[in-house]
Amino acid sequence: MGISYFDDTPHVDQVGVEERIARFSTRSIKKTSKMQALKLALNMIDLTTLEGKDTPGKVNQMCYKAMHVCNQLPELPTVAAVCVYPNHVKTARKALNGTEIKVAAVATAFPSGNSTSSIKLEDTQFAVSEGAHEIDMVISRGEFLRGNYNFVFDEIAAIKDACGKARLKVILETGELSTLDNVRKASDLAIQAGADFIKTSTGKIQPAATMPVTLVMLQAIKDHYKKTGKMVGMKPAGGISTAKVAINYLVMLHETLGDSWMTNEWFRFGASSLANDLLMQIGKEQHGIYQSKDYFSND
């Protein structure tokens, strides 16, 4: 072993975390502050398609949606990024050419991470060579749970190297880590190994992102920032499908990390259906009435 990664890792008390979470949902967000929050959340979305049946056609349609989330509503921001498998990176880059929207690729034998390190590296290198701005990797949960922290650390570090200029998001797959103590440990490990972002979930495992898990990860980011002055981003992914929940996350972000993180450079929502609910709420704020779901594209 030799290295201890967890010298500064505090224990986490689930009951206390849940109590804190309850307070975030009682803040009053309406009118101006709601509109701000809705647009910000929209701007923080990584629009995602991660299916076996993905095709260039599907990816192109999603990229168009990323650029024009809703042409009927004025002054909308774009989403932050699209998130695809490595073999669709090129298609996405081409479709998004000339925009500021990033292309993120899941890599490292997503979603299970059960493969050899060389295949994971190759997967990453391929995605980067195809032009991915961001790499969403998964950690080896099996190795983590059996206490092989060196392995997990080295793997993240190696992938980070392979990323070059691309930003690395490290997926902890918290739904498989079982305890908040483990979530905190995995967060600290990933951050020390060089993660630019830490991310809750693949979206393939339930539960995916939850507020307690996200709070623990935000606190890990905060402690790291206090100690080193370096910011790390956060991406809850999966399970956030309504504007109301997204706003609760923003309140949590606001009260935990503060305004510097309130940008898509440092916070993302990994979600696909969230966008339409945000659009519906924005429409409601502008017109005073809800529009039918049929007015919003499902791309």
Binding site: P10, V12, G16, S28, K31, T78, L250, E265
Partner: protein
């Protein structure tokens, strides 16, 4: 290690071309709870024998809102004659009706009161906040629901007293004289009235002079509930009124929650009489954080322990003990958390810390803050702005304190936390117990055995582990030493109102 540091440096690389939408200064929307649905009469009389009657004293005093300094209503001041009327009504109701009706009928009335509190929860919450200054979030989510829960809980016991105290033939005492404080006006009324009624006693209750409105609203509710006349009487006034209740010969039981000084006077007054007495008095609780604590949750617990209800809580965690090796980190986290607390209009749903209950109390807190400064403790206050009107106090820490500081040993009853460090468990147990009070304590550690070791040595009525300020009707509450005696809540709370 090299590899580790190497990775960290790589995250510093300049990130290019990420679209930015920074939201500087995102503000929550002001959300004041409406007061339009609330009816506060311009003047309230005394609630005696089921009716509101004018005081014989002919005197009235004002109750003001501590957040606006505006007068809310005029309240009757009960003199000795009025108290005598109330006690006579209670005695009469006890002899003629309440002790005679079947216990399950008593339970029905208490259940009804509980349900009616739930039905009027919003009105009670708003009035509690207007009259007492506590944030609506607390009155809405804690005070009022807990008050209803106390009635529900004790209603359930009313016809099961023989099972609660088997082979003892439990019987009621008679007339209970109850005096309650201003920090949880409705909740304290519920804590007192519910077990008294469940056990078959009748009640003369005096709410605090600065916060009488919700008790009077409760009187209206009790009137509507059809509870037999005279079973609950509510008389308002100052200390003199309370003294008249305590000294009345037909009062069989005195229950007091309030300051230790007044508690001592009451205990002297009942000495040599057959009156049963319970006192729930002041406190200066130790909140102890060990180095293996869940630190971020401990910070929440510290905040909840001292800033809940502006620190107007007898069991507030007002002495913080931090193990020395984590003190710097924890204090920094605490200071930062204090910055996110919203202090202001208590009716706003976003408000975390409301108004200090009265001008008098604010002056007392301010005096203690200057005492702390003069004693050489290091003061830290949140940078929040306070409203121009009303009685407000910034959340305050005193660092580098010791057991020899007055701010450490005396009850301030405000949002002021005295912080000390410790090295070993023996040391902290000694320091935590080194105080005349013994109401409550908190301990934060991930180690179960340490919790049990410490709780068995604490001279405190309630010890919370990895949480703070949790209340439940089923859980007994009360103090050691100068924090009083007798227990309220749970089974223990019943026995205080029975001859067993």
């Amino acid at each position: 290690m090299n590899q580790k540091e190497n990775r960290i440096s790589k995250t510093e690389k300049k990130l290019e071309n990420v679209s930015k939408t920074v939201f500087k200064d995102w503000k929550y929307a002001p959300s004041p709870e409406s007061t339009e649905h609330v009816k506060i009469a311009p003047r309230y009389d005394l609630f005696i024998n089921g009716k509101f009657v004018k005081p014989e004293s002919k005197k009235y005093f004002d109750t003001v809102s501590p957040s606006t300094e505006k007068k809310l209503s005029e309240i009757a001041e009960a003199g000795e004659k009025d108290v005598d009327k109330a006690v006579s009504a209670a005695k009469n109701a006890y002899d003629k009706t309440w002790r005679k009706i079947p216990a399950k009928e008593r339970a029905k009335y208490i259940y009804r009161i509980a349900r009616m509190i739930q039905e009027r929860a919003r009105e009670f919450a708003v009035i509690e906040t207007m009259d007492g200054g506590k944030p609506i979030r607390e009155s809405r989510d804690i005070d009022v629901p807990l008050a209803a829960n106390h009635f529900f809980y004790y209603a359930g016991w009313a016809d099961k007293l023989d099972y609660a105290f088997p082979k003892t033939n439990p019987r009621p005492l008679g007339v209970a004289g109850q005096i309650i404080p201003w920090n949880f006006p409705l909740l304290m009324a519920a804590w007192k009235i519910a077990p008294a009624l469940a056990t078959g006693n009748t009640v003369v209750l005096k709410p605090a002079e600065s916060t009488p409105l919700t008790a009077l609203k409760l009187a209206e509710l009790i009137q509507d509930s059809g509870l037999p006349e005279g079973v609950v009487n509510i008389v308002t006034g100052f200390g003199k009124t309370g003294a008249a209740i305590v000294n009345h010969p037909n009062v069989n039981k005195v229950a007091f929650t309030g300051s230790t000084d007044v508690g001592k006077i009451i205990q002297k007054a009942v000495a040599g009489t057959s009156k049963k007495i319970t006192l729930e008095l002041g406190g200066k609780a130790a909140n102890i954080v060990f180095d293996d604590a869940p630190i971020d949750q401990a910070v929440e617990g510290i905040v909840n322990g001292i800033f809940f209800n502006q620190g107007h809580v007898c069991c507030a965690g007002s002495r913080l003990f931090v193990q020395e090796n984590i003190a710097a980190n924890l204090i920094e986290k605490l200071k930062e958390r204090m910055e996110s607390l919203i202090v202001g209009d208590p009716l706003d749903k976003n408000t975390d810390i409301g108004a200090i209950n009265s001008k008098e109390q604010l002056l007392k807190i301010q005096e203690y803050i200057s005492i702390g400064i003069n004693e050489g403790a290091e003061i830290h206050q949140s940078s929040c702005a306070l409203p121009n009107k009303g009685f407000f106090c910034k959340p305050t820490l005193f660092l580098n304190t010791s057991q020899s500081h007055r701010i450490v040993t005396e009850e301030i009853f405000g949002p002021v936390l005295a912080v000390q460090t410790f090295r070993t468990i023996e040391e902290v147990i000694e320091k935590a117990n080194n105080i005349p009070y013994g109401l409550s304590a908190g301990v934060w550690t991930d180690k179960g055995s340490k919790i049990f070791h410490l709780t068995s040595k604490m001279r405190a009525g309630v010890v919370w582990a990895n949480t703070y300020n949790k209340f439940d009707p089923a859980s007994p509450f009360g103090g050691y030493k100068e924090s009083g005696f007798g227990r309220e809540g749970g089974l223990h709370g019943l026995s205080a109102y029975l001859t067993i």
